[in-house]
Amino acid sequence: MSEPVLATHGLMKSFGALIATDNVSIDLHPGEIHAIIGPNGAGKSTLIGQISGSLASDAGRIELLGQDVTRLRTAARAQAGLGRTFQISALAMEDSVFENVLLGAVAATSGAWSLFMPVARKVALTERAMQALDRVGLAYAKDTRCADLSHGQRRQLEVAVALTLAPKAFLMDEPMAGLGAEGSRNLTGFLDGLRSEAPILLVEHDMDAVFALADRISVLVYGRVIATGTVEDIRASDAVREAYLGESA
């Protein structure tokens, strides 16, 4: 079996008395979409935060491409190849859609220490940014102020910014939320192709999308992984049905 691109070992996180992440060991292999599902408050976003570095872990280890990144700061992990999207959009709301993706392009290539050269004149950067917008189907809105975007468009922009980074692994926290049926179908098709560029750790509530996309699914309940397996395994699992799927079925 191939080496995992990303792996966590015994990851822990508590908020006071609440254990949000309880001994989580998961991995992500090349070319795969590994979906994380679980009820509200199960600790999915917390896990994504720990992996990306925005939340410090209490214990455990995170490896990216065989390198221990547990002690690295968020920015260093991003440079090492993590591309994250946020469940609650973290976008520069006063700026245009284009400026938001341009930031990703800048960070991924030349860096932000060019002080005098107008960034809009750097063709390599603007092309990289436009390409990312094109791919998520948001190019038409490039001049729209971010604050004027719909919820679904913000989800698309989140994905576009991550694309500009050309990461080694994607961490996506509910990219489908608020997209609507057609939007979800489009994004599902897009993510399906994207996995060959870099594997995706996908937190998602949209079960149609998860069952259509996931190579593996891990089920998180009260911070603990109660099952990991293929779509068929998870559908067949009594424990999962009881703890999670049962609620919606």
């Binding site: 440079q79 400026e99 938001n100 800048v106 991924a108 932000a112 005098f116």
Partner: protein, 327 residues
């Protein structure tokens, strides 16, 4: 609504027209007033880089203004007393040369901004305001007790410092120098805003989380903005001291820090010409109302209140009908 470009051009034209008119009408005092406005505008352009672009509400920018002022004061003092400054093994000659004084003023302010930034940028919001305020007070009380350079009474410089090929004693020539410095600072801010650095800083102000997630360090971006900002305000301090031929601890006062913030809010936070419009309004009010009543600051407060209540983008925001800061 009026396009911002048009407003920017009018402001520059106005800044040129007023002294030209004053020159023809032989209104020396108007030239001095304009110089004062230009220098305050320069100080506020500096602050605007930290405040408008970086979102850093520094209530201690008088520190840099004062350091610029004392850089001028100390160097010129040693030149006029012909006694070099002894710093341990180091002997530094005083100087009356503006370019040298400006260099010292900007470098000293930049270094101070680096230290203050490193110590205070970890905090945000009210804490950042309080820490920068505290640094201002620290310098204020230090200079009050610094008897070698006049303490509370300050330091008088008898003759304005010199600039190659110019007669700086002629008011219009000194105004020209200050005006050139202001234009350069505006050009710098404009280039910064449109650069990769400006893009990232602008994002760091709005969402530091995003900036980290794409692999940049928002703290370093803000630190550099703070340093550039302090350097420009420091240069303004040196010019201000030269305008008055006098430096005193009041250059470090919190009132001055507050006035710089108010200037920017009146003009428009983050707007290229915001500090210039703010300074023009400020100096005009100070002159006209200051002659009528000792409480002219109240009217400044009223204007500020109107602007804060009716348009967050300051005067430029009101004129362009666009709230958001855009340089």
């Amino acid at each position: 609504m009026i396009p911002e470009r048009f407003i920017n051009a009018s402001v520059i034209a106005g800044l040129l027209a007023v002294p030209l008119w004053a020159l023809m009408a032989d209104e020396i005092f108007t030239i001095t007033l304009t110089t004062r406005a230009v220098i305050l505008a320069l100080a506020a352009v500096g602050l605007n880089i930290a405040l408008g672009m970086g979102g850093l509400v520094s209530f201690g920018h008088a520190v840099f203004f004062g350091i610029g002022g004392y850089a001028m004061g100390i160097l010129a003092f040693h030149a006029q007393t012909f006694a070099p400054l002894e710093l341990g093994p180091l002997t530094i000659e005083g100087t009356k040369s503006m370019p040298v004084i400006w260099l010292v003023a900007t470098v000293a302010s930049a270094l101070t901004a680096l230290v203050i930034g490193l110590l205070s940028l970890r905090t945000t919001g009210v804490h950042f305001i309080m820490i920068t305020l505290a640094f201002g007070q620290l310098f204020f009380y230090f200079t009050i007790s610094w008897s070698a350079y006049g303490g509370e009474d300050g330091l008088s410089i008898y003759v304005r410092n010199s600039f190659p090929d110019l007669n700086t004693l002629v008011p219009i020539q000194f105004l020209g120098l200050c005006f050139a410095a202001l234009c350069l600072a505006l050009l710098l801010q404009w280039r910064l805003r449109n650069s990769a650095f400006g893009l990232a800083l602008n994002a760091a102000r709005q969402t530091p989380q995003r900036v980290e997630t794409v692999g940049l360090n928002p703290m370093r971006l803000k630190l550099l903005a703070f340093v550039i900002s302090g350097a420009i305000t420091g240069l303004a301090g040196a010019l201000f001291a030269d305008l008055n031929r006098f430096v005193s601890p009041t250059m470090f006062s919190w009132q001055l820090s507050g006035e710089l913030i108010i200037l920017i809010i009146i003009g428009g936070v983050g707007r290229l010409m915001g500090p210039v419009i703010g300074a023009a309004i400020f100096v005009t009010l100070e002159h006209w109302l200051g002659g009528l009543t000792d409480f002219w600051h109240i009217w400044l407060g009223v204007i500020l209140l109107v602007i804060v209540l009716f348009g967050r983008g300051g005067v430029i925001g009101l004129l362009t009908g666009k709230e958001g800061p855009h340089v």
